[in-house]
Symmetry: C2
DNA sequence: CTGAAAGCGCTTACAG
DNA sequence: CTGAAAGCGCTTACAG
């Protein structure tokens, strides 16, 4: 932090300009309340001294930080990067700064990060997913800190959400898979414990199976953290079964790309020997060969809308409105149509 | 921010525990200085009230935030994700919190973000690349805020750096390319203006050309922002030349993957019709087919070392020591050996 | 339009 | 080991 002996304070500016600290403060925060001549003098002093307001002091006195905190599960891959980028762009345009933390998909770390962000005076919080220990929402409510849950749409939830319906999106993809004649379906899911998006995607697949009069109970699901290598390993396991699946639906594109690599390593062709699907439609999905059939998530739009909604909440213009964004199925080369 | 009427303060805790605020503060900051019995009583009160220290007040009183700021050029892709992840892990292990901002590769935005982070009381700053307006370093020095430059190693620089030598790394790759018999070499570079890493990579290639008695002046270089689509477009332009290159060396893997796609779209085979190389060795490089020959950058190690070095500076244990990390050339399928 | 002064919620010498 | 008190640098009613 700054060295007090060297960094000018409001007091220094006031003295240099021959006014009170109140006036200097006003010049900075509501300049229209200061007559021009005085203001010019003050601004000149600020410039001359190279004054920057002390953040801590300002926060403490004003009880606002113009800071929004976001906690995402991981920064290690591109899943959240796109959405977060537009989220931050929109915040910036509205005069807010974004603080990002990551939780490594661990509720305990997420809670720690939430407290850290709150302790840092975040005016509002963006969280990924809706379901978490209610005590956290109580904690936030007690401090009247607005929270928006994103990457998920839950009109029934206790918190406002701006996102998409993970379950119906996966169901739509699974219907397509079934319509293509696939019957031996397996899934490589992310860890569902503590991850409502992952759980909803599995549920969406099961729903589609049930609709199609397929045995949802017999569905083979491997749960594994969202990492490329894990996708490869899981595919190997699944394909070594006595009756290997004709299609492996993955919880996201990272796992799908890993599965693709795993197939290649086993000498299997995709989609001739096995079909693979993903979820998210991040850049990765279009970079590999064949390109991955996946669920397109409107990340950029979601980020922007989330920022708008959260700032509205922070500025008391809204108690929090949920917004549903539409996903779409992206048909690409990794899914084979067995009817042809 | 918190609603004062509802959020417990140090005072509330002190009253509840029947001690002074000084004691409560000590329990939080140097628990060993409080006798166990008292401490237990205080901790129970903290728990019971759900107390969280007020950040602004703490910062103002302690003149430390235990916050490190990092400004990276972009969050939109994986280039910086890996390194930043370990950077933040190491900070966390040492009790610091990371604040990340991005500059969109624009010096002006970077400067704005630097001021924002400083205003927020960052104890230290991580910046990507070394070369920038000296006024920025002066500003930081006046506030005695330690700065570490990373993703670059510059023993001659005005600031300590923890990173690698972009120029010699690219030169090493280019030597290999030349050794493979390539003579018609072109480059797709990132924008070099305001980006010392990008500029150093171009310089490294030129050096290797000169060494090999090739005409460095005739080198065709297209500069374009680091985006996949731009890599594809640049490749198209280069391959439409009268005498197209036998190899296209890209400023990073993102451009290389784009170039690969561009080649495929033109019906060209890689590496049969044209070789492609990258830089960074991010996951992308191994996901595509063929895999990209590239420069491996030790991102994770760099992130960890940068955190260590910066914290040492912050805690006055060091005035800032530069550290060079080694890169290595990763030979993969996208580069053809013309001698065979 | 401007100023004097209280107060924001902590930390930290200084005593005891 | 613990407490009383000053002080950190701002903002904001409240007066004038």
């Amino acid at each position: 932090m700054a060295d007090a002996s060297t960094v000018p304070t409001l007091d220094d500016v006031a003295r240099a300009a021959g006014v009170s600290t109140a006036t200097v403060s006003r010049c900075l925060n509501s300049p229209e309340r200061v007559v021009e001549q005085t203001r010019n003098r003050v601004m000149a002093a600020i410039e001359a001294l190279g004054y920057t307001p002390n953040f801590g002091a300002r926060v403490m006195a004003a009880k606002r930080t113009f800071t929004i905190g976001a906690i995402i599960p991981t920064m290690d891959n591109a899943i959240f990067a796109r959405g977060l980028q537009t989220f931050q762009e929109e915040l910036h345009a509205r005069g807010y700064t974004l603080l990002v933390a990551s939780s490594a998909y661990q509720p305990q770390i997420e809670e720690e990060q939430i407290r850290a962000l709150v302790a840092r005076g975040a005016d509002g919080l963006l969280l990924i997913g809706h379901d978490r220990d209610p005590a956290i929402y109580d904690y936030l409510r007690a401090r009247s800190i607005p929270v928006l849950a994103s990457w998920v749409y839950r009109p029934d939830g206790t918190q406002p959400t701006v996102g998409f319906d993970n379950r119906s999106a996966m169901r739509a993809l699974a219907r397509q898979v079934i319509a293509f004649g696939h019957r031996r379906i397996a899934m490589i899911s992310g860890i569902t414990d503590g991850n409502d998006r992952a759980a909803a995607r599995v549920a969406g697949l099961r729903e589609a199976l049930a609709e199609g009069a397929l045995d949802a109970d017999a569905l083979r699901v491997i749960e594994t953290p969202y990492e490329i290598d894990n996708g490869a390993a899981a595919l190997r396991t699944l394909m070594q079964a006595e009756t290997p699946p004709s299609v492996i639906m993955c919880g996201n594109d990272v796992l799908a790309v890993g599965a693709l690599r795993g197939a290649r390593e086993m000498g299997l062709s995709v989609p001739e020997d096995v079909s693979i699907t993903g979820f998210d439609d991040i850049e990765l999905a279009r970079i590999v060969t064949p390109q991955i059939t996946t669920v397109h998530v409107p990340h950029r739009d979601m980020g922007r809308r989330a920022a708008e909604a959260l700032i509205d909440m922070v500025e008391k213009r809204s108690a929090g409105v949920s917004l549903e964004l539409e996903c779409s199925v992206q048909m690409r080369g990794s899914l084979r149509d067995l009817r042809t």
